[in-house]
Amino acid sequence: MGFLAPIFLAGLLAVGLPLWLHRFARDTRTKQPFASLMLLEQSQIQQSREHTLKYWLLLALRLLLILLIVLAFAQPVLPWRTPPLEAQDRRLHVIVMDTSLSMQQGDHWQKAVEKAQALISAMKPADQGLLVSADSRVRVVAGPVNGSDTSELRSALASLKPTFARLDYGMLMTSAPSWLGNDRLKTELHVVTDLQRSATPLQFADLEPPAGVKLILEDVGPAPTTNQYVKSLGPSEKDANVFEVRVAGTPPTGAPRTAVLSIDGKEKGRKPLTPLQGVVAVNAPDMQPDPNAGSAAGVATAVPAGSDATRARSAGATGEPCASEAGPAGSARSGDAGGRGTARSSGSPGSSASCEPDVPATSAAPAAEPISTALFADLSLGAGAHRATVTLEPADALPQDDQFYSVIEHREPRALIIGANASGDDVSYFAAAVGALTNPRLAVERTGSDAISQRALADYSALVVSDVGVLSGASVTSIQHYLEGGGTVLMTLGPRAARLEKIPLSGHVRAGRNLKSQGGGWTGRVASVEQSHPALRDAQGWRSVRFFRYVAVEPQADDAALIRFEDGGPLLIERRVGSGRLLVLTSPLDREWNDLAIHPLFVRFIGEAARYLTSAAAAPNALVGSILPLGVNASDGAQVFDPRGRRATPLGATSEKPRILADQIGFYEVRGGGRSDWVAVNADPRESELSRLSVDSVSQWTGMQKDAAPAGAAPEIAVADASSGAKPALKSIWPWLLLIAVTLAFIEPLVANSYLYVRRGVTS
């Protein structure tokens, strides 16, 4: 037995009060005067026994009352085990309905419902049933209910519908212990699904069902051999003014399909799909690191060119095909250019390790995926953001993935260079390097640190701060707000920052060995460069740069040190601040600190960093099941409306940035900061991969059942082991103690009154 509030046990000292009172009462018993004791005899033994009995009864009652009250306040908990099963053959039938997007194909959902109904009908009256829906979330819809009354299960089943979200079998299996619970009957887990191969996790071991649970896969039938889906919408690599629709999957036989492009709800054109050969894509379960993914994302999300250059912010930049957590740059995993994230970027160093796929037994070698394209030119888009919708006609086996949504921003991205002096050398260096970029072309503006508050930082795709120590407190607050809202900043640490104990914006604490060898003739070299990072892909030449001084800071736990000196100190650090991204260069563009500015590397690095940051900023699109990237303007009291025009944010939730889980495809509208933005949400393209698990994979999966129970052991044994090994639940008993205490509180006066009445002695 344990106590939730053991401090109240100190109240047990109160038992001394009745003890003292009773002792006192015994010593002060009233005596009856009597004329003479001559005829009386001492009958103390008999009398005392009777008297003491009543005395101790009252005392014990009072002590028990105090004890119960104290224990009730201390909230004791007892280990609670469910009573043993009455019948050994009782079972818990857990019916997991795959409600992912792929279940909308053909009559799969109808078959799934029929199978579930058959399972419910087959339940014995003593059995229990549990209905669970599984897509990107696993929800217990109904139950557990007894098999004698399955109406709740049937009504809940009738209310289920497939969604646009993706199901990951690994997530389903690993989360099963939490929603199955520990105290349960022998469990049969019926997964009614289409056995989609792309739903398998990166690690096949994640498919292992919980111990003691018998896994039964209920196949809803064969998948169609053909299915096409829109993979991406973005500017063509050849001509940024031409928009390219990329369609993946196997085309159906018959007439070629047509891509219909609509802008802001108006049809802009129809183009037949043209097969494109030689594009290599990978399927979800067989995903391989694609070192070019980041580059592709950069090319796709930045529209080069002239004054009316167009930039497409495509869905997929926030796609999270990797199940595990990634480093700061891990979220830069991008699919194909502007597409739904089906491939992963090798990304940041943090993500490269965690996202390395363990090729499951079911995986197949990368195969050439047929890609069809359709090009749309001369769209004549006006300034601002536009909602682009691509629809494939005619519909195929899974028409829900024939539509693709994207937000196209037709305006020139701008970068703001901030320095102590708008005309200073460092600001000029940065402005020249950023201005030299052609893809994307960024309009560069320069400003002094004292004029930041007069600018709307949300209009800039990226900020470059030269020596963050020059910023005032108000400027730091503004940029911090910009960062947390999803902005991107590249900043350097210079002489002014070196005088600060805590670095603004990044929050780094200056290390003790600060300012390496000031004026001591020290020359440092770069020792390691994380070349897999998108900003450092063209990293040749870093070792030739000489550094004379830098501001030594200690990277924090969630930082990624992209470049390090020979002494281990970081030169370039990336960290996430809110929804934004921050690159910290610990040495400024100053000839007294380094000679970076005179190396050709400088322009390339600044260009890649700016491209990386602007691409990171342009990520307003999401997949179903992910958190909506609401952007910079959503920081203060933003209101979000779903594609059907209904408010997605609670009316009261205006003080903090809302976190909206996208569960529909289409355009979410974000109203905040005096403007209205759009976020495109598409279905996970892996749901469009309708290929099924091989028979071997299914047998391997179901064969993992052996790991759950000892060889040759019946499932009953497994259940018994699981129940005996499980920790019993703790049950709080304080309400019962309080109830007993209240009862004793009513009894105590009666007993005490009787006792005192007797002590008064004379009756009649």
């Binding site: 009233t30 005067p33 004329a35 005829l39 009386l40 009958s43 103390q44 008999q46 007797v758 002695g761």
Partner: protein, 297 residues
């Protein structure tokens, strides 16, 4: 005795009278009124008996009126008037202060003594008083003078519960004060050894004293009623004793009956009479016993 008179004589009613003389008069007058109607008891100083004249009788006592009517000679004899000295011995020990109702044993004893004194005074008998506990606290010799009654009543009025009782010792001392024979009325709860009491009283009885004992007891002493055990404190010695109700209901009552019987035997052994007076009963029964006793002597 009428009901109204009985009500007037109840101890509770008498306790409401402040003056002890008034108490005595009320009790005695009410009692005498009741006697007037009683066919069984009679008392007269002029009571006569007639018997046939025998040779040798004084012819003065021949009732000639009867002889004239019947021609027979009868002798009319008159009851001779004798003065009896009444000595009241009131026990004023601490135990006499016990009370379970509205009146204590001592107070009841005082009423009784006052009534006896008043009654004796009306008969012109000398009345004396000794108040004692373990010693003689007050002594007033018997006197038939007018005003003697007031002195006795005053002495009774001032009597309060004292210390322990030493009945034997006190009776030894009484012999010094009771030189002339007379009637001795002892008012006490008689918590003493009957044999010892008998030995102490015997010299008095042998010297010609007629003795009557009024044993005054509280009802709770005779019939104690307790639901639970109780701690009793002796009013004289201060000792305490826990007594169970079972004992009080059984053994105690038996012992009390034995004690009363022993005291009664002891009194009878010395030719004395014993009257048990309960403090919840009127005084008339005690007075009646006294008059019966007085009539015999």
């Amino acid at each position: 005795m009428s009901d109204a008179a009985a009500r007037l004589l109840t101890p509770e009613v008498l306790a409401g009278l402040a003056n002890l003389e008034l108490v005595a008069r009320t009790a005695v007058e009410g009692f005498l009124v009741g006697l007037h109607r009683s066919p069984h008891f009679g008392f007269s100083q002029e009571f006569a008996e007639f018997r046939a004249y025998n040779e040798g009788d004084d012819p003065r006592f021949v009732d000639w009126n009867v002889f004239a009517r019947t021609d027979r000679t009868y002798i009319r004899r008159y009851e001779g008037e004798t003065n009896t000295r009444l000595m009241l011995l009131l026990d004023a020990s601490a135990s006499m202060g016990f009370q379970s109702g509205n009146i204590s044993k001592l107070q009841y004893g005082k009423y009784l003594a006052a009534a006896l004194a008043y009654l004796a005074s009306k008969q012109h008998d000398p009345v004396g008083l000794i108040v004692f506990d373990e010693t003689i606290r007050h002594y007033r010799p018997a006197s038939g003078r007018s005003g003697s009654l007031q002195g006795v009543l005053h002495a009774l009025d001032t009597a309060t519960p004292g210390q322990k009782t030493d009945l034997e010792g006190c009776f030894r001392k009484f012999r010094e004060h009771l030189s002339r024979r007379g009637l001795v009325a002892v008012i006490s709860d008689l918590y003493c050894d009957p044999l010892a009491m008998s030995k102490a009283v015997a010299p008095l009885a042998y010297t010609g004293h007629d003795m009557v004992f009024f044993q005054v007891l509280d009802p709770s002493e005779l019939e104690p009623k307790y639901r639970d055990s109780v701690v009793f404190e002796d009013m004289e010695s201060g000792q305490t004793m826990e007594v169970s109700p079972e004992y009080l209901d059984g053994a105690y009552r038996k012992k009390m009956e034995d004690h009363l019987a022993g005291v009664r035997r002891a009194a009878a052994g010395v030719g004395a009479d014993l009257v048990l007076a309960r403090t919840d009963e009127p005084l008339d029964s005690a007075l009646r016993r006294y008059l019966m006793f007085r009539g015999r002597h």
